[in-house]
């Protein structure tokens, strides 16, 4: 019970910090708008397969940029303070949940803007939304831990990309396939395998993150 309360307090703190500066959210939203618009200006018209791939590539880079900040924005002395009062598992869990909410929000805004600017070839829209939500979940669970690892090494942003690409590729392949099935309006039951494996990987990543974070949170 104390653990849940601690996590809830930490999530609340994340939102408060974000609300006061609005730095991350605004920055990422401008990033999304700019990227989608640049893609529109350079592609004009695209076929559905490229449409889907391009959407996921934009989302991938947006989420790397959004989540890479999660351990950089607070300074060292504040972490020293956290060490004395909170459970490390609660800290990483709060970051994952906060990133999950932020990423889902950004992913839906990105999808909305993307479909407005480009045409909309999606046939099974509800299922595509599910794929986007699963994407937000996968990106946030994977990148939060990677950003914790990268934040311990000095040259952050390059390392973040190097460390996260190999581990996100299997998830991204599944997500693109699931999204493509939804876009083509293929029978929903045929993508059950992909959803199962995605959820399984996410559960593993959650468990491993909670177990491993206590080892790296102090220097």
């Amino acid at each position: 019970m104390a653990f849940i309360k601690e996590t809830a307090t930490l999530i609340r703190k994340e939102f408060l910090m974000e609300w006061r500066s609005k730095y991350a959210l605004n920055g990422i939203l401008i990033y999304v708008f700019a990227t989608v618009f640049i893609c529109y200006l350079s592609f004009k018209k695209i076929d559905p397969i490229t449409w889907n791939a391009l959407f996921w590539i934009i989302l991938l880079f947006t989420s790397i940029n959004a989540i890479a900040k999660s351990f950089m924005q607070e300074n060292r002395s504040r972490y020293l303070y956290y060490y004395t009062i909170v459970n490390p598992a609660a800290l990483i869990l709060s970051k994952i949940i906060y990133n999950l909410i932020l990423m889902s929000l950004i992913a839906f805004i990105c999808l909305f803007f993307y479909t407005v600017v480009f045409n909309n070839p999606i046939q099974d829209f509800a299922y595509y939304l599910l794929a986007v939500a699963l994407g937000g979940l996968s990106f946030s669970s994977m990148f939060t831990m990677v950003s914790a690892i990268a934040s311990k090494a000095n040259n952050n942003s390059t390392l973040m990309a190097i460390l996260s690409f190999p581990v996100i590729v299997p998830l991204l392949m599944l997500l693109i396939k699931l999204a493509k099935n939804a876009m083509d309006g293929i029978d929903r039951a045929s993508s059950a395998n992909e959803i199962g494996v995605l959820l399984l990987i996410n559960i593993i990543v959650f468990a491993v993150s909670l177990l491993l974070f206590p080892y790296i949170w102090r220097d």
Binding site: M145, V146, I149, K152, A153, N154, N155, L159, I162, L163, F165, P166, V167, V169, P170, M173, L174, K177, N193, E194, V197, I201, I204, V205, V208, S209, L212, Y215, I216, D219
Partner: protein
Amino acid sequence: MKIKSDWWKILGVVLVLFSLFQGLMGRVPVLPILHETIRNIYYHVPMWFAMVILFVFNAVYSIKYLSSGNEHHDNIAVEAANVGLFLGVLGLLTGMLWAKYTWGEAWSNDPKQNSAAIGMLVYLAYFVLRGSLDEAQKRAKISAVYSVFAFPVMIVLLFILPRLTDSLHPGNGGNPGFNKYDMDNQMRMVFYPAVIGWILIGVWVMQIRVRLLEITNQILEN
């Protein structure tokens, strides 16, 4: 070399020599498309078995390092990743050579080929991470965390994803596994020793490299 503790090294050498010889000279069934290239099964497949075993060593010793903080465990983890990566490169090269003659192209966008290449990237990233940290203890701890974190993903990549899609490799996407039709009993008598032999050789190379690393560190400290 003491027979009691080092018998497995001799066994590894004998088994690999046996499989090298039998691979070139032994009798193989004549099959369409494969023809004589089926001999590559003795060289290509054991590389992957040995690589996976060494990556398991890497994950296990990373966990051991996290719980003990013993530098020796970190050295084993590093060298296991090194040797595993080398075996993986050999596996890719032998596989590409085989693919050139049976599938027509060295790289034919096969899911298992792609997965293996990305699996290699995980361990290359592991070495980049190690390179970016100066302090020895911090480097050991953070790279151990990354390797334990990445290991389940690599397992999914190598063993689950290729099975979800169509692959040119046997045993995937409805293709029969190679054990079922292609290999007769005589081939199995060479294949299994080759697998065991290469695993033993891989572990032996890792052990020698760990000793070399520790001696180098000792000299550098003095």
